[in-house]
Structure formats: structure tokens, C-alpha cells
């Protein structure tokens, strides 16, 4: 992948050591290539790549606000169409899970509905990290965050993850996929595949956050891998509404995933709560047919 080319996201950015989003963002832009314009929501990625006067980006990049990257990208795409350059140039809108599933959802929905030729990438680190780990719509059940704290009257976040891929799918767009920073070729293939399709595309990438998840920085990729292997983060791919790809797994117990993360520490006092999380994984495994055994 760009083996000899210099990366399009330069070093010297100010992400935390071991930031999963920093890895994924570089993999995505390298897969997209230099003829790409990126509109970025406010969030860690924006902050750690473009603190004036230094930018880590090697491609044309714009940040406006937290909730409007899909709309800004829509304007860029319209401008390129007006200029007759759309065929030659990719437009990517990207943001964190909060900027995508919560405050940015309406702009994304509008962009989907208009059928604009844009790839939206959601870097899912499962909370508002830039502001200090508050819950988002994609924060998993029972996760301990600063606005869904565990306490004597609480086990953490009370709601399951908002099913963003399904919501994107429901819009009837041609391409929807989940990916993870742990499976690099799969992620980059999906980005290229998406960009080869005309119309709105949505990719949601699971990116561990050592700070917010409270795991050792060297475990970033390992934890992402376990997330997929437990079934808690199904790696799936839809084209024109049909499930065309599923990353098969030999399911591991969710404890393997929860254990190394501080955000789930409180659960190990109450095993029955962990069962509930295992149930979520089991549902996913059935729903998407993740178990390798399911293979024909």
C-alpha cells in the first residue's frame, strides 16, 4: 500500500501515542490517493492534524464545524460537478462517531438522500474523545464514560450502540461497510471499492482509543482485533442493500475484549452484567452469521 510513496498523512501530528484513529486515517487517505479532497468534522483527528501553523495533511483538506462535514463535502462535490472535475477527484467526508452518529447525522442523511458522490468515513472510537471521553450514540452498552459513569446506581452507558450501518443502509445507498484498524488490507480494499462506486457510501471503522478506553497503547491493534473476534464489532459489507461480505470468526468470549480496557473494569465485579454483553455478541453472531462454522 503506497509502499514507496510518502504517506498522505504526515508524522508530527499530535495524536496520543497509539491512537487507533491516527492509524486508520492514514490508511484511508493512502488508499484514496492524492486526488482526494477531505472535509473533516471537529474532533480528535481534526485537532491533532491541523493545529495552526502546521498541518499533517498532504491533500486538500477542510474543517468547518463539528456537525457539518457531510454538508461541506456536498458543496465541494457540487462545485466539482459544476467544474466538470467530479470524475477525476474523490470527495471524502469524515468524522468521529459523535460527529457522525449524533450531531452530524442529519447532514449525513441529507447527503445520502441527495445521492451525492461522496464517501463518508466514520472513525468509531465509541465516545467523544476530543472533549474527554463523554458517551456518544456509538458508545457500547455498560461502557464507563464521563457522562455515563459507573456508580452505585449505574453500570455505565445504559443504551446499546446506535445501529449506524443499518441506518445508512435504510437510506438505500449503494455501499455500506464496517471495518477495523486491525484488518488493514480489508479496510483499504473497502475504501477503494467504495470510491469505485458512484453515489453515497458509508464506512465505519473501529478505532481503539488508548486514552478513552484506558488500555495500554501497544494494544491498539490487538484490541481492535479482539473486538471483531468476539462478535462485538461485526465486520460486514453491503452492496446495494445486500450483505456481500462478512468477516468470519471463531467467537472468543467477550471477557477477552473487556478485560484489558479500563472502561469495562467495573463490570468484573458483576459477572451477570458481562453476560448481557456476551448476549449482544451472540446476537450479532447470529444476525450476521459471523461464526466460521456458518461457512458453507
Amino acid at each position: 500500500m503506497n509502499s514507496e510513496k510518502k504517506p498522505l498523512l504526515a508524522p508530527g501530528h499530535t495524536a496520543c501515542a497509539g491512537c487507533g484513529q491516527a492509524i486508520a486515517a492514514r490508511l484511508v487517505i493512502d488508499a484514496a490517493g492524492p486526488n482526494t479532497i477531505v472535509a473533516n468534522s471537529t474532533g480528535c483527528l481534526e485537532v491533532f492534524t491541523t493545529k495552526y501553523p502546521e498541518s499533517a495533511w498532504e491533500i486538500p483538506w477542510i474543517h468547518s464545524l463539528f456537525e457539518n462535514s457531510a454538508a461541506v463535502a456536498s458543496g465541494i462535490e457540487a462545485a466539482l460537478r459544476y467544474l466538470g472535475k467530479k470524475e477525476a477527484i474523490n470527495v471524502i467526508a469524515q468524522g468521529g462517531d459523535g460527529g457522525s452518529a449524533d450531531i452530524g447525522l442529519q447532514a449525513i442523511s441529507g447527503m445520502f438522500e441527495r445521492g451525492q458522490d461522496i464517501l463518508y468515513v466514520c472513525y468509531d472510537n465509541e465516545a467523544y474523545m476530543n472533549t474527554g471521553v463523554q458517551r456518544s450514540g456509538l458508545t457500547p452498552f455498560h461502557s464507563n464514560t464521563s457522562t455515563s459513569p459507573a456508580g452505585c446506581a449505574s453500570y455505565g452507558n445504559i443504551r446499546p450502540k446506535k445501529p449506524m450501518p443499518e441506518i445508512a443502509l435504510a437510506h438505500g445507498i449503494p455501499y455500506v461497510a464496517t471495518a477495523t484498524v486491525a484488518f488493514v488490507p480489508d479496510l483499504q480494499r473497502k475504501v477503494k471499492k467504495a470510491l469505485s462506486i458512484k453515489g453515497p457510501k458509508y464506512i465505519q471503522v473501529h478505532v481503539p482509543c488508548p486514552l478513552g478506553w484506558r488500555h495500554a497503547p501497544e494494544l491498539t491493534l490487538e484490541i481492535a482485533k479482539i473486538a471483531a473476534e468476539t462478535g462485538l464489532y461485526p465486520i460486514i459489507e453491503y452492496e446495494n442493500g445486500t450483505l456481500v461480505g462478512v468477516r468470519k470468526i471463531t467467537p472468543r468470549p467477550v471477557e477477552d475484549y473487556l478485560k484489558p480496557q479500563g472502561r469495562f473494569k467495573h463490570l468484573f465485579k458483576s459477572p451477570e452484567e458481562i453476560k448481557k454483553i456476551q448476549a449482544i455478541a451472540d446476537t450479532n453472531i447470529l444476525k450476521y452469521g459471523l461464526a466460521a462454522s456458518n461457512k458453507p
Partner: protein, 185 residues
């Protein structure tokens, strides 16, 4: 009479906790500390400051600290290419965390410098490389601004269980380490 303390650390090294514990120790003496952080859009590892300004009456001055009476440096690598002592009063005192094989810049004649193996102390005391409490212990001994008693009170307020014990132990060792140096002189 007003005293100003500037803490140099990296985001994640607990500079704000350090400022809080310092402030709280003064608070227990009935003084009026104002402790506050300053970060860039800090990420773990990025250099940042925390400040404590303390007086016998409520502190009103809100600016950052440019001429500190005391400087605490949690990570000496911060002195690479950047003068952490800038503005330190001529009779100022600096307490610096030691880092094996790392040269700490010299200070002016009347300034005092204490290099303390705080990380090491912390590792021994509670197995984490968080030297804050050891550094504050050292600070207490070096400046005589407050006693170990107040610091231990503060630590009790902030930490509980094993963390509490460990940090109290670290504070003591930091304190003693400097006492020794002083008496050595």
C-alpha cells in the same frame, strides 16, 4: 506574601493533580491558593503547564505565571530546547524529576536546584511511574512552604486505599531525599 509556582509536565503526567495537591496543602494551612492548568489542545505526551498562585488572602490575579518563585519539572526531557527555568526568581527553587542519564541544565548562583528520582520512588512505592507526590514531598522539604503533615492530609483527600498509602510513602521519601541533600550541604 504571594508565591507563584509553575509546573512543567507532559499531558498525562498528572500536572493538574500535582497543582491540586500543592494547592490543597496550602489550603490546609488556611491560605488561599489558585491552581490552574494551561494546555494547548493537549494530547497525552504533549508539553503543558499547571500553575499555583497562593497568598494569605484570596488570589485575584488570573494571568499565567512568568516569574515563578518555584518551578517543578515532572519530566526533565522538557528542558530539551526549551528553558523551563525562564523567569525563575533569582532566589528561586526548582524541583526536578530525575531521569537516568539525563543532564539537567544548571541554574543561576542564588537559585536552588533539587533533582529527585521521583519516578523511581513512585515505582518502588506503588509500582506506577507517577512521581507527582514524591516531587511535592521534595518541594515541601526544599521550600518549607508547608509541612509533610499537610501534604499527607491532601493526599488522603485525593487518594484512597492502596494508592493513598503508596503516595504517602512516596511523598515521605521525596521529602527525606531533599532533607538529606540539604543537611549534606
Amino acid at each position: 506574601m504571594m508565591k507563584e509556582i509553575r509546573i512543567h509536565a507532559r499531558a498525562g503526567q498528572g500536572a493538574i493533580t500535582t497543582a491540586y495537591l500543592l494547592g490543597y496543602s496550602y489550603f490546609l494551612k488556611g491560605m488561599y491558593p489558585y491552581a490552574f492548568p494551561h494546555f494547548g489542545a493537549a494530547r497525552m505526551g504533549a508539553p503543558m503547564n499547571a500553575f499555583v498562585r497562593v497568598d494569605s488572602k484570596p488570589v485575584r490575579l488570573r494571568s499565567q505565571i512568568y516569574q515563578p518563585d518555584y518551578v517543578i519539572i515532572a519530566d526533565p526531557t522538557l528542558t530539551r530546547g526549551f528553558n523551563c527555568f525562564s523567569g525563575l526568581k533569582d532566589d528561586g527553587i526548582a524541583v526536578v524529576n530525575q531521569r537516568e542519564g539525563f543532564e539537567v541544565p544548571k541554574v543561576k548562583a542564588r537559585q536552588k536546584l533539587y533533582v529527585v528520582p521521583a519516578t523511581e520512588i513512585a515505582m518502588k512505592a506503588f509500582g506506577k511511574p507517577l512521581g507527582n507526590t514524591a516531587l511535592i514531598g521534595a518541594y515541601a522539604a526544599a521550600t518549607e512552604e508547608f509541612s509533610l503533615k499537610e501534604l499527607i492530609e491532601a493526599i488522603k483527600k485525593r487518594f484512597s486505599g492502596k494508592a493513598q498509602e503508596g503516595n504517602i510513602e512516596a511523598a515521605k521519601q521525596g521529602f527525606d531525599f531533599v532533607l538529606k541533600q540539604k543537611s549534606a550541604k
